[in-house]
């Protein structure tokens, strides 16, 4: 909120934001140059992580309720779209939203009991949500159980299919980021931040803390569900072990903490930098090494930069000047 005030101050140059539309145009136009599939997928996964991390941050960053269950909502979205498209033949653009709705319903169902827990207890039960959901989908014939589900592709070439969902994911990530930014600067955001700072004081301020947490949880789950739906189309295949991979939950958390979970810019930076790094390390060095590096990074970030890289660098600048 401090940032917000500075930003709205008269002396803040808006020119600073001019590069944003330029970057967006470049990203939108990127498929036109016919890039290798590797880069298209690389960028697609960057957008996906931006959407996931920003949506995770609504609850995890602003209220401090660190969830490891985000992957369950993401997968819920992916599976919902697959099922609705394959079994009922509904258009992919409608089913991605439906995926969000089902993820939000799941969040509403588990949110009431789980959000009463605090700290590590909340985190552990959210992790269990992801594990239990994975087991359910692994054993549920209707959704393909352990063989997974293939998507029916759109009646266009596989390349065009990829490009369409690349663009869709870019829009989804952009919309989520803008909405999260808006929440951060709204009354809703102020209430969420008060919960993080001191939940008892927040209650005494007249904040209906269970309701606000629930809203943040459901909204975050909805976004994650939409992202999951689009992801499914791009990959054209969902499988419980891949889609429900707990590592993704950890990655989301790390990205948010890395950039700094107190503002919308932190998850954005974290998702971009770390998902690029992750894909490159996995591709060129190996998945095992990447996991070790990530584990180390998480420890380093939490110990030395508890407020994230952005605040850390800002702090370094301030102390140099002073």
């Amino acid at each position: 909120m401090q940032e917000m005030m500075q930003e709205r101050g008269p002396n803040r140059p808006w020119g600073k934001y001019i590069y944003l539309p330029i970057i967006m145009i470049i990203l939108f136009a990127f498929p036109l140059v016919n890039p290798p599939l590797f880069f298209l997928t690389l960028f697609f996964s960057v957008f996906m992580y931006v959407g996931l991390t920003e949506s995770w941050n609504l609850l995890g960053g602003y209220t401090g309720y660190v969830s490891l269950g985000h992957i369950a909502f993401f997968s819920m979205g992916a599976y919902t779209t697959a099922v609705f498209m394959n079994r009922f033949g509904i258009s992919p653009f409608a089913t991605a939203i439906l995926g969000g709705v089902f993820a939000a319903l799941l969040a509403a169902l588990v949110g009431y009991p789980v959000l009463r827990l605090k700290g590590a207890y909340f985190t552990i039960s959210s992790l269990l949500l992801a594990v239990v959901m994975q087991l359910i989908f692994m054993n549920w014939e209707f959704v393909g159980s352990s063989t997974g589900l293939w998507y029916k592709l759109l009646p266009v070439s596989i390349e065009a299919n990829r490009i369409i969902f690349y663009e869709v994911m870019l829009v989804v990530a952009l919309v989520i980021t803008l909405l999260v930014r808006w929440v951060e600067k709204s009354k809703f955001g102020a209430g969420l931040i008060a919960i993080r700072e001191d939940e008892d004081v927040a209650k005494m301020m007249g904040i209906n803390t269970p309701l606000l947490k629930m809203r943040a949880f459901i909204l975050g789950a909805f976004f994650a569900g939409v992202v999951g739906g689009v992801y499914g189309y791009y990959m054209s295949y969902v499988h419980p072990e891949v889609t429900f991979n707990i590592n993704t939950s950890l990655l989301i958390l790390l990205m948010s903490f890395f950039g700094g979970c107190r503002t919308w810019t932190g998850p954005l930076l974290g998702a971009v930098v770390l998902s690029l790094a992750n894909q490159l390390i996995v591709t060129f060095i190996g998945a095992e090494i990447s996991r070790i590096l990530y584990g180390l990074l998480l420890v380093i970030v939490i110990i030395f930069m508890p407020n994230g890289v952005i605040q850390y660098i800002k702090g370094a600048f301030v102390s140099e000047k002073g």
Binding site: Q2, K187, I193, A194, D200, K203, M204, M205, G206
Partner: protein, 242 residues
């Protein structure tokens, strides 16, 4: 205005409050004193809904609030400060108050309007010069004023103050006493306060409840209470006879 009837609360085998009756009339400043651990803060926690009471009831303006949740109590017009001041440390001074204003009884939706009202409140407690400072860099006396401003931000009709004077020096206590009267007289807020600083209690309260082991020991005007043998015994121990 605020009334408790046989309020009781126990934590396992410990009786923190036993059949405690109290009444605070509109416009009064009433004190609650007692040795450490006698149940004063527990009573405040029961009133504000942080602890459910085991039996008895609490009435505010004639309406029962015993089962209300903290945010509902706040919406009905009761605010409190905490014994150990708890500003939202990560936020600036004005953001602390703005959030409280937005979610207060006027339920303001616009951030700009909320910030305007927050600034007025900071002027009221004379903390406006520090408005952009992070709350964690305030000294104790300033934190107390921030806590007061935050409690006032909800536009309460009734204020519970938990040891607002502790840890202040003499000048600061004198200032705080003036502020308490200003809150009652200018904002028409009734005040119920827990206090150990006797100078502040004697200087502000027209009625005092004395509590020991969760039981009411005495009740009355400050001068009466301070002469009550049971009260003197509770604080100083029994005189040994030779």
């Amino acid at each position: 205005m605020l009334e408790g009837v046989r309020v009781s609360k126990r934590f396992g085998g410990l009786k923190a409050l036993t059949d405690f009756d109290f009444l605070v009339e509109k416009g009064q400043i009433v004190g609650l004193i007692g040795p450490n651990g006698s149940g004063k803060t527990t009573l405040f926690n029961v009133i504000t809904g942080f602890y459910p009471s085991d039996s008895g009831k609490v009435l505010f303006k004639g309406k029962e609030i015993t089962r209300c949740k903290p945010y509902e109590v706040s919406k009905l017009g009761i605010s409190r400060t905490f014994q150990i001041v708890r500003p939202l440390l990560g936020l600036s001074v004005i953001d602390n108050i703005t959030t409280a204003v937005l979610y207060g009884r006027d339920n303001i939706g616009s951030m700009a309007k909320g910030r305007g009202r927050a600034l007025d409140l900071l002027k009221f407690v004379r903390l406006d010069v520090k408005k952009d400072v992070p709350a964690q860099s305030l000294v104790a006396a300033e934190r107390k004023r921030l806590e007061l401003a935050r409690a006032l931000a909800a536009k309460p009709e009734f204020l519970l103050l938990d040891e607002t004077f502790s840890g202040l020096n003499d000048t600061e206590i004198a200032d705080a006493i003036k502020l308490i009267f200003k809150i009652r007289d200018e904002l028409n807020i009734t005040i119920f306060l827990i206090e150990h600083v006797m100078k502040a209690v004697m200087g502000t309260c027209e009625k005092i409840f004395v509590m020991q082991y969760g039981v009411k020991l005495a009740e009355g005007k400050p001068e009466e209470v301070s002469k009550n043998p049971a009260v003197i015994e509770a604080y100083l121990g029994k005189k040994k006879h030779a």
